[in-house]
Symmetry: C2
Subunit: 141 residues, 2 copies
DNA sequence: GCGATTATTTGGAATTGTTCCAATTCCAAG
DNA sequence: CTTGGAATTGGAACAATTCCAAATAATCGC
């Protein structure tokens, strides 16, 4: 919410990775924070253009990749549709509404996450889990 | 395992959808059953060619799509890498080994599946869940 | 069985999302 | 200021998949 804090944490995370806080990276990130509807790279591109009309699609891809590397943003995939980007850092699953195409964040309680990890037999060392629902969501918001 | 049974269930499922049991569909399906290593369409294509040297890649894609529609096969996606195909019909998660690229089936007990579905707030009606692990697997087989 | 109708396969072109690349442009340090 | 590396840019290239129109094959009514 707070743009100063957001921008600070961005600058910090980038610095931690030895990267610079460029206007392109800042605007791409702020666009993701502003409207958390899991936009595609093309959608991010369109939104960023409003502020930086000369930015290129390649740069948007670069910035998104950078933000994912810095773990400020998650890349979300449904089947083979374009990758979507999510700045929600809490552990959460995704719900993909087949009718509307909308994507919802579903908070994952630690207990559930723990139980899911229990299904792994000995010898499987998971660094991450992804949980994705597909179905229909009743409009709430 | 049993080719007669497999072929019968294939013929049955196809008939249920008003589709024919063609040699291409049969061989594509048998190739998936024979080596359950989650091959890509290209890999299936290569394996099927041994039996049907004149089959086309488009037909392999068509057959795989048909088998997925008939619910005899699951399409499995990791990030944006090529779709993989899995004839295991039991409820299971996938474990993607980042080093080797191999994909493992992880059986999902009904209790875990139930608990995972519990995380959905009212208004979310899921028709399917996908659980995907990424990490490192110690070689067992 | 025979021709008509429909389903399926085929090869190649097209599409889509993404990555690559070489040429600038930008910056920060000396 | 210079200068070397970092970042951006536009366009070409790429990979996976889908589309398409023509050829083949199976099925149906007779
Ligand atoms: Mn959809
Ligand atoms: Mn991998
Ligand atoms: Zn999310
Ligand atoms: Zn599987």
């Amino acid at each position: 919410m707070n743009p100063i804090l957001a921008s600070d944490s961005l600058t910090q995370r980038l610095a931690d990775s030895g990267l610079r806080a460029t206007p392109q990276r800042e605007v791409v990130y702020s666009v993701l924070l502003r409207k958390r509807d899991h936009p595609t790279a093309e959608e991010v591109f369109a939104r960023v253009k409003a502020e930086l009309p000369t930015i290129s699609l390649a740069t948007v891809y670069n910035c998104l990749e950078t933000l994912v590397q810095c773990e400020l943003v998650r890349a979300v995939n449904f089947e083979r549709s374009p990758t979507r980007y999510c700045p929600n850092l809490r552990p959460h699953a995704h719900f993909h509404d087949e009718q509307t195409g909308r994507t919802y964040d579903i908070d994952l309680p630690p207990a559930v996450l723990a139980e899911v990890n229990q299904v792994l037999p000995a010898g499987f060392d998971a660094s991450s889990v992804e949980i994705t629902f597909r179905g229909q969501a009743r409009a709430t918001s």
